[in-house]
Symmetry: C2
Subunit: 423 residues, 2 copies
Amino acid sequence: MQAQIVTVGNELLLGRTIDSNAAWLAQRLDDRGFEVVRKTTVGDRTDLIVHAIQQALEESSVLIVTGGLGPTHDDRTRDAIADVFMAELHVDPELEASLAAMYERRGRRFTDERRTMALVPDGFEWLSNPIGSAPGLLKKVRQTHPKCLLALPGVPYEMRAIFEAHVEYAFDHLPQTGSAYRTFRTAGITENRLQEMLSSVIDALTDTVDVAFLPDPRDGVAVRVSSRAETDAGARALLEDLAIAVESAIGEYVYGGEDDRLEAVIGSMLTERGLTLSMAESCTGGLIGDRLTDVPGSSEYFKGGVVTYGNLSKMDLLGVDRDTLRKHGAVSGEVAEQMAAGCRDLLKTDMGLSVTGIAGPTGGTPEKPVGTVWIGLADVEKVVALKLQLTENRRLNKELAGMQALNLVRKRLKKLELTGQNS
Amino acid sequence: MQAQIVTVGNELLLGRTIDSNAAWLAQRLDDRGFEVVRKTTVGDRTDLIVHAIQQALEESSVLIVTGGLGPTHDDRTRDAIADVFMAELHVDPELEASLAAMYERRGRRFTDERRTMALVPDGFEWLSNPIGSAPGLLKKVRQTHPKCLLALPGVPYEMRAIFEAHVEYAFDHLPQTGSAYRTFRTAGITENRLQEMLSSVIDALTDTVDVAFLPDPRDGVAVRVSSRAETDAGARALLEDLAIAVESAIGEYVYGGEDDRLEAVIGSMLTERGLTLSMAESCTGGLIGDRLTDVPGSSEYFKGGVVTYGNLSKMDLLGVDRDTLRKHGAVSGEVAEQMAAGCRDLLKTDMGLSVTGIAGPTGGTPEKPVGTVWIGLADVEKVVALKLQLTENRRLNKELAGMQALNLVRKRLKKLELTGQNS
């Protein structure tokens, strides 16, 4: 069955706000065997929302709308839905009572404006919001062509909580389709190279199986294989051979599956081996530390580090040798190695990771153009350095360097396991 | 005139990829007086692209399509456009020669696959790509209802370069509308509070002027005022009073305009005053250093710092007092102040900035729940600490703490200017 997503909000059209709701919902719908064919964003205007809902419902059986269900004058989705279905809006007494109780618990007034959230279009059900105020709205069409319209608030945590609490019920009248998928997250390899390595797999694809490449400078390229059949079991059977073929072709670059993050994968590997890590960042400025500390509990293995944005701090804090700096320059394998060893000593950790490079847009030379980056990694056994030649874009260079640095740690940890040097 | 944006790519529907193209284009179109009414994302399937283009062209006069113009089998936009206009595709000899020359310069083969980028639908013009391979495609309809279809590659830097190089030409047949806008970027204040402060301005809005609130955890809430009239001069006149009213109401929270970033604003202020900055990050893990070093040339004033993700490194590297740690805990104003002073000493800078807090999801106590964060700032004159009570979300807490910390530096630098203490 085909599904569509409509997200509502001026801030999504014009702002820097990232429409994470649409991506999250698209993955959940895809996982359930729906084919997401389109997502649409419109501003906070009733006529635009009405039009988007009408078009989507004409074309697809499942429509999820997010945003515009709150209490302010900008929230127009409730009115738009009533328009589309030519339905009256009535206050639902049970919903009104639960909203009033929630505001009282929080010590805030249940104003007339907030009371508008108790309005439900005739023919719709409301879905309780486990963590916030605005409820979801649901219409199940059970005729010859079953359909489902689900409207959710735009606040991401509330949207997800309502979806997860009620999704089984919301879709239970729809014909079941079987689907299966698997994601291989890779680092340190380009989309083009992966496509080449998988060319025979891609050439053999049929209508019921698919391979998608989803590149991201931070997380690397995800390879997502998926299948559809009448039942989930049938889809899983279709997927199996495909997944094996993909894994055998690109396995060495794979660091994890669907929701895995490189920083969390490294965290687990460090924890398993009882090892600690510190870092010395120059051109990445703290990005790697930021990523590592996104993992809850990372303080157990990540002890911090230094950001050395100048030669002085490289020498003073990390003990990088003045002659080495003079002879090879701050962006060199020699300095990367000394930085890695230096932060390992300073923070008294098992491993020390360093990055030094020319992020750009200026500072490049013919020998060391913008995008030249060295990564260093020191552990109890040895110190290594890896050279990268990245792009001309400063932010992109920082993100790619961060990914490659974390991937170097991962590869080293893998080897430490294999050779049993983690004792 | 109404405008729409269609972005093409499976990775935009399903992946973690952020659709930055649509937001960038929406702002540019809005700046030129077009009303962006919708953006649509479809996967890499010809029928879906065809349908999205047809619908958008029926409804609006200006349509920009991004993505799907590259050389691989996933790139279907060229074919879809040919379908919509029932146009043949022909190789353009001049375009073909320029592509061949570009690949030769880069030392890469001009394969048959890459040659498909020289195909142009009859009735379309191609627009040169200043920094990449895939050209833009343009159709100007000059009849009673002038229209414009502009197709651009999906790679953000190429998309932007082609748009900026050719936009004047692409739109020169469209009737001119006047517009004006101004953005006030704020930090350290919520959207709700701003709305309250601007309630009398909002109540007095007419059809031709608007105020939008665009919140972002990293950059704060942007307040964007805009106006439309027959001419730009007319729109500017409409905007003037509105902008003055907004500025007088919320001016103290404003750190910059349209494209300003907090880290760059601070960078300029430090440079003007000849001051340097270092940082000591605990719960933010490097996020602030990452932001500061996103600014080209930041090495002139940002000297780096330390990420102290444990008490040991707080004491060893920053000289935080053991008794203070024991008595007040690592998340306290006292420790934040000692961290700020400590990194200022260690890195020999004029100012030292620190953050220590409980990012979550665990580690909270009744006295110091998750989201408790202390920021410290030390300079030649004094050391101050600021307490924040943030959310239960780890990533959100890191981003909000980073913004508040940078804003504290900004406010302090502003005072240093006013009282002439920068000598």
